[in-house]
């Protein structure tokens, strides 16, 4: 087992990994930019090292600085968290070359899951259902139009290197499609340095349902149930829950089998997620792998009572998973509290936290790096906190989470806490009548 782990991240996920290290008796080493020197991850880690100025490309994304920090701190492994370098195959390769353990999948897996059109083809070949669409990248707008007529409008143009909603466009007809292909390609080239795009049928009123997987270096893959993440804003998740109300036991079994097959096809190791679209007709389609720990992993932890970050560390250290299936109990829901203004199209709301008071009590877990006096920086992701509620059933989880969001106090910035509580208490959400468009019902109408 590792004795010293460096955490190449900040915010709540850095805290999450520090806590896991502490629980395992591992020395944690935080890195921080000069903007983060008073942050909790820098103070709660056993050791901490300043790696650069506030801009992420000069600090948290600066590979030489992070490797140098790991070397001078004598870290045996690096946990990348999510975001930043977590899905950068070059970083994973460099770690390997420097004989530093990378706590995540292999560089090859990361590279494959980052190339979405290739990955899609691999999954199709492995018998995992994928959304009807192009075979590989599309070369020009004319080919796209021809294909779209075959599979039927509307269609989605997606960047192969994309993520987080960037380089993604819907087209309802020929003209719009031609435009969309050009725009998405330009956007993707600018954002990811790769203008390759592919085509998928756009599935209306779909749900986002993903499967948590763990794979060890002995070749075992375990599925840990699903998470429904249909409540999204700007293609980014806001509320996640497990189990999904949309899955019957037999549909769940089918989806777990598909996720297992997907992971097995690429010899997946460490923690990851297989993401599916679930159509209103109960057909589901592979979309992509997330080759890292995810923001919403706690809901799975609450119903399985497994510590997924500890599992990641154990797997990276070469330990086998000691089980092939997990039991789940009850229902868990997570609400993400972002420093954003829901009334202004989720515009970031950085600033000073004048007062912060965390909720508590039975069934409530809070993962956050917030404290009174924290200055939410402009430089990084706006996630402030995750509030997770466990309940014997979905209703109890809803009541507990909505109540906790009411109790949560954050003065100084706008947040998504009240919006989440409103959604949770709505009849629509309670009925489970949700899809990836649901959020629109809760936002001001755009004239």
């Amino acid at each position: 087992m590792f004795r010293r782990i460096l955490i190449a991240n900040r915010g709540e996920i850095a805290l999450r990994v520090i806590r896991a290290c502490r629980h395992m008796g591992i020395t944690s080493i935080a890195v921080y930019s000069t903007a983060d020197q008073n942050c909790l991850h820098a103070s709660l880690a056993d050791e901490s090292i300043c790696i650069g100025p506030p801009q992420a490309n000069l600090s948290y994304l600066n590979i030489p600085s992070i490797i140098a920090a790991a070397e001078i701190a004598d870290a045996q492994a690096i946990h990348p968290g999510y975001g930043f370098l977590s899905e950068n195959p070059k970083f994973a390769t460099i770690c390997k070359d420097c004989h530093i353990g990378f706590i995540g999948p292999s560089p090859e897996t990361i590279a494959l899951s980052g190339d979405k059109s290739v990955c899609r083809a691999r999954m199709k070949a492995a018998g995992v259902p994928t959304v009807p669409g192009s075979e590989g990248l599309i070369q020009d707008a004319e080919t796209a139009v021809k294909l779209a007529k075959d599979i039927g409008f509307p269609v989605l143009v997606k960047a192969t290197a994309g993520g987080g909603g960037k380089g993604m466009r819907i087209a309802h007809n020929d003209v719009a499609l031609q435009h969309a292909v050009n725009m998405a390609s330009t956007e993707a080239a600018a954002a990811f340095g790769d203008g390759g795009v592919y085509l998928e049928k756009y599935i209306e009123n779909a749900r986002h349902v993903e499967v948590q997987i763990l794979g060890d270096h002995q070749g075992r893959i375990v599925t840990l149930g699903e998470r429904e993440c249909s409540i999204q804003r700007r293609h980014q998740k806001l509320i996640e829950e497990t189990p999904s109300v949309a899955l019957t036991p037999s549909l769940r079994a089918k989806m777990m089998k598909a996720a297992y097959r997907a992971a097995k096809a690429i010899n997946y190791t460490n923690a990851g997620t297989v993401e599916f679209l679930l159509a209103p007709d109960n057909q589901f389609y592979f979309i992509e792998f997330n080759a890292r720990i995810q923001v919403e992993h706690p809901v799975t932890e609450e119903v399985t009572r497994k510590d997924l970050v500890c599992e990641q560390i154990r797997i990276s250290a070469g330990e086998p998973l000691g089980y092939s299936a997990v039991k789940t109990e009850g229902h868990a829901i997570e609400a993400r509290v972002y420093a954003e203004d829901p009334m202004q199209n989720f515009a970031p709301s950085p600033g000073l936290i004048k007062n912060c008071h965390l909720p508590g009590g039975p069934g409530i877990r809070v993962d956050t790096h917030l404290f009174t006096g924290y200055e939410v920086p402009r430089y990084y992701d706006s996630l402030l906190a995750k509030v997770i509620a466990w309940g014997q059933d979905r209703n109890q989880a809803i009541e507990r989470l909505a109540g906790a969001l009411d109790e949560f106090r954050i003065d100084g910035v706008k947040t998504t806490a009240a919006l989440c509580a409103t959604i949770l208490r709505s009849g629509r959400f309670r009925r489970g009548d949700i899809s990836m468009n649901t959020i629109d019902h809760f936002l001001p109408k755009v004239g």
Partner: protein, 144 residues
């Protein structure tokens, strides 16, 4: 004061924890204030466990001198290009602007650190071969 200097001044002030800065010089007066500065909140959260000194990295010494040359990156500090070679800089040395004063090694890359201004080295603050953080003062200097 030219605009470039003003811009730099504002940047320095913004990066600092200061709420207010007032400068009066040659009949000119300048006052910078941060918005939202006020007593309504607790400004500094002194963490329960104060920022721990990393074991691997010696605690940054309190600068005794006003001017320093700081490390531009995290890595290992070397005073000379190789063992046995003469040191780039030693106390008393007169250093020209941009002259290399040391090396910080990160990922096997030897990064030469140059003086930003002409100066005299007053003290070497880090021992040869020791790890350094970003921004850690390496030399105390007297500007020329």
């Amino acid at each position: 004061m030219d605009l470039k200097t003003l811009e730099d001044l504002i940047r320095i002030f913004e990066a600092s924890g200061l709420g207010e800065l007032e400068i009066e010089e040659d009949g000119r007066r300048m006052c910078l204030k941060k918005s939202g500065a006020g007593p309504a909140y607790q400004a500094a959260y002194a963490p329960m466990n104060p920022l721990p000194a990393p074991v691997a990295v010696p605690h940054i010494p309190e600068p005794e001198h006003v001017a320093t040359i700081d490390s531009p990156m995290v890595g290992t500090f070397y005073l000379a290009a190789a063992p046995g070679e003469p040191a780039f800089a030693a106390p008393g040395d007169r250093i020209a602007e941009s002259q290399t004063v040391c090396i910080v090694e990160a990922m096997k890359l030897m990064n030469e650190v140059g003086a930003k201004i002409a100066c005299i080295i007053e003290k070497v603050l880090v021992e040869n071969g020791q790890p350094v953080e970003f921004g850690q003062p390496l030399f105390a200097i007297r500007p020329l």
